[in-house]
Amino acid sequence: MEHLLAEWYDIRDLGNAVGHFLTWVDDRGGPSWLPYFVSGIIGVVAILLWAVLSQLGFVWIERRLIGRIQVRLGPNRVGPFGLLQPLADALKVLTKEMITPANVDRLLFWGAPAVVVMPALVVFAVLPFGEHMQLTDLSVGLLFVIAVGSVNSLIVFTAGWSSSNKYSLLGAMRTIAMLISYELIQVLALLAVAVYTNTMRMGGVVAWQDHYNVWLIFLQPLPVFAYALAGAVEINRTPTDIAEAESEIVAGYHTEYGGIRWGMFQVAEYIAGFAIAAIVATVYLGGWTLFGLEEWVPGWLIFLGKVYTYFFLFIWLRGTLPRLRIDQLMGFAWKYLLPLMLVNILVSGFEVLIWQEKDLSAGVVLPIFAIVNAGLTVAMMVGWARVMGHTGSIGEPRRAQLISDVGGVYYEPLPGGRA
């Protein structure tokens, strides 16, 4: 990709500024590893700052949006339009008393909130925010993302287990059950992507989408849906926030935590949400490219726009949908999604084989693949649901039957009815 300017003031690619700065550092002399070290520090600080600031902003956005969904105002007292609400929340969380129950496992109890943010943050290391704005371009980026994401559930389990509280224990067990089920779905979803792009590097995936001028969401609708759901499950977000289901087990794994320890769990949930959104944006939505618009609009703005749009979808789902039960969720993963994902990989591999072997032109072949995949997705989802015997809410009555309609006799149990 050509840049009109590759100057340090070109904000379309902040990598330029950093590059110029690193050249300056290198020219100063000193050890040869110094530029790498400095670049690492800059990247880490930038990611940290961005993650924390986004999280503060999205606390406000989420609460106002869910308020609007629920026909009420959100926070509107602290500052104009309640904009200082995240600050008030942070202050409250910082100054609250941290009660430690008597017979907890101290090391794990104190350690779990301390490390819970780390997996979510580490994921950002391989995600390209722009063309030269990737902390490290691992050759196994896709695998790295999944592997680090699963550590999140382990830490949640540790928190629940060490709390010596039956509610927390239930929450911890539930999260491990969900992790096991949906890890596989995540792997299969990203594997289908790797089949198409022939690379596991995140930068390579974005470059593939840019080269063929197509987003993988069009070519792989089923894995997008599966990965989005699996990601939501991993980070315990409604409608699958079973591990911390408030109406059942009163905050689940973080029941016993107070003050900044609970605050760390909330921060981790938001940053993990951003991580999932960022992965979906990179892998399926084209990353920092937008069909050539990145010539004028900075790539990182495009990327952030996609991340935030996707996170808005998370907020929308949270405000609208009720919660699933744990066995329904796991049944969905193993009995429904897993066969569909395997079929999807088979079909994708077949398509890529045809494409490469016959050496067809991409402009012809890819739209055909997109339509075929979309149709196949709809057919498979509906058909497999029918095969599994699930009719959903289609046959359910929309109204209770009235006595005058049914013609029943008053005061007697009605004949028939469901057993």
């Binding site: 109406s247 039960r325 109204r399 209770a400 005061y411 149990p413």
Partner: protein, 365 residues
């Protein structure tokens, strides 16, 4: 491998037990082996206190038993004492009682349905929508008697005071917009696959079990038995309005949810007719506040939003009742809680409890 069941307490401090109510679950993993309820956290010995107070002084007690349906509580007690005295309130009072009782039913069912979907996991979104209408109804109550929740409106021999002039236009406007709102609520809960998956087939109670366990109210009607005191044993002008009774077929939580939704609609129908047919006249028989009913006993019952609320009052000719017993539907509907819960998961137990729709003030008295 030796295992032992895990005993988990749901409550008494819990976001979803609808009050201070404790449920001791014995779990094997997530399956419930045994469910035992522990009540009495809100026991205020109302039955004993009522024996020390005059008949009119006991009316505020009836607000505070079922605090989410205070008007119907007042009404049941006044009916029982009027049976003892052998008096009938004037027609305007009868129609006003119907209006207030049906408004209260809509408000209470809005809360019951909203908290039921909340127990299914939707973060209060349907609850907030239903609270819109509940707020309007509570404003109407405040207009009529000065209080939103513990209304103390009915008196022995009628109602305490007439409605002000602003009541009728506001009530008529509310009744006009209710059908659209109810359609909105139905859209939120009915077609929702997740609510169906959470509530269909959960907590099944057959009709024979329900009748044998003395279940009343939407729970009984959800099991298929068409028994509604407003139709079977009409009181206070209910025999002069046209309405229908919804029943379910399967007796599970989803059917009870459907029955409550439909009862909202039927209450709107009753309100339309009642607001139009409200006659003029006195609102009270003007009985003395200090009454001594003749020696005897009476059992007065109404259909409250939770079931059959009955008052069994024994009078010994003195100024205060000899025995004041509240037949609380919330308590008796819980007789079959164990049968409904065993074999389900923890999440289902919460949904079942939400569908029984208890109010702990009435349960414990």
């Amino acid at each position: 491998m030796q295992t032992e069941p895990l005993i988990v307490n749901i409550g008494p401090q819990h976001p979803s037990t609808h009050g201070v109510f404790r449920l001791k679950l014995s779990l094997d993993g997530e399956r419930i082996l045994d469910a035992d309820m522990v009540v009495g956290y809100l026991h205020r010995s109302m039955e004993k206190l009522a024996e020390e107070r005059s008949y009119t002084q006991n009316i505020p007690f009836t607000d505070r038993t079922d605090y989410l349906a205070a008007m119907t509580g007042n009404l049941a007690y006044c009916l029982a004492v009027e049976k003892l005295l052998g008096v009938e309130p004037p027609p305007r009072a009868q129609w006003l009682r119907v209006i207030m009782a049906e408004l209260q039913r809509i408000a209470s069912h809005a809360m019951a349905i909203g908290t039921f979907i909340n127990d299914c996991g939707a973060w209060q979104t349907p609850l907030m929508y239903m609270f819109r209408e509940r707020e309007k109804i509570l404003d109407l109550f405040e207009m009529a008697c000065g209080a939103r929740l513990t209304t103390n409106y009915m008196r022995i021999g009628g109602v305490s005071r007439d409605i002000p002039a602003e009541f009728m236009p506001r009530a008529t406007a509310l009744v006009k917009e209710l059908p659209d709102r109810i359609r909105e609520y139905e859209g939120m809960g009915l077609g929702n696959e997740i609510v169906v998956a959470r509530a269909r087939g959960i907590g099944v109670l057959t009709a024979e079990q329900a009748i044998n366990s003395s279940v009343t109210g939407p729970m009984l009607r959800g099991s298929g038995v068409a028994w509604d005191i407003r139709k079977a044993d009409p009181y206070a002008a209910y025999d002069k309005v046209q309405f229908d009774i919804p029943v379910g077929t399967a007796g599970d939580c989803y059917d009870r949810f459907l029955v409550r939704l439909e009862e909202l609609r039927q209450s709107t129908r009753i309100l339309e007719q009642a607001l139009e047919a409200l006659p003029e006249g006195p609102v009270n028989l003007d009985l003395p506040l200090a009454i001594r009913p003749p020696v005897g006993e009476s059992y007065g019952r109404i259909e409250s939003p939770r079931g059959e609320l009955g008052f069994y009052i024994i009078s010994d000719g003195g100024p205060s009742p000899y025995r004041f017993h509240i037949r609380a539907p919330s308590l008796i509907n819980l007789t079959s809680l164990k049968e409904m819960s065993v074999g389900l998961t923890v999440a289902d137990a919460i949904v079942v409890l939400g569908s029984v729709d208890i109010v702990v003030g009435e349960l414990d008295r």
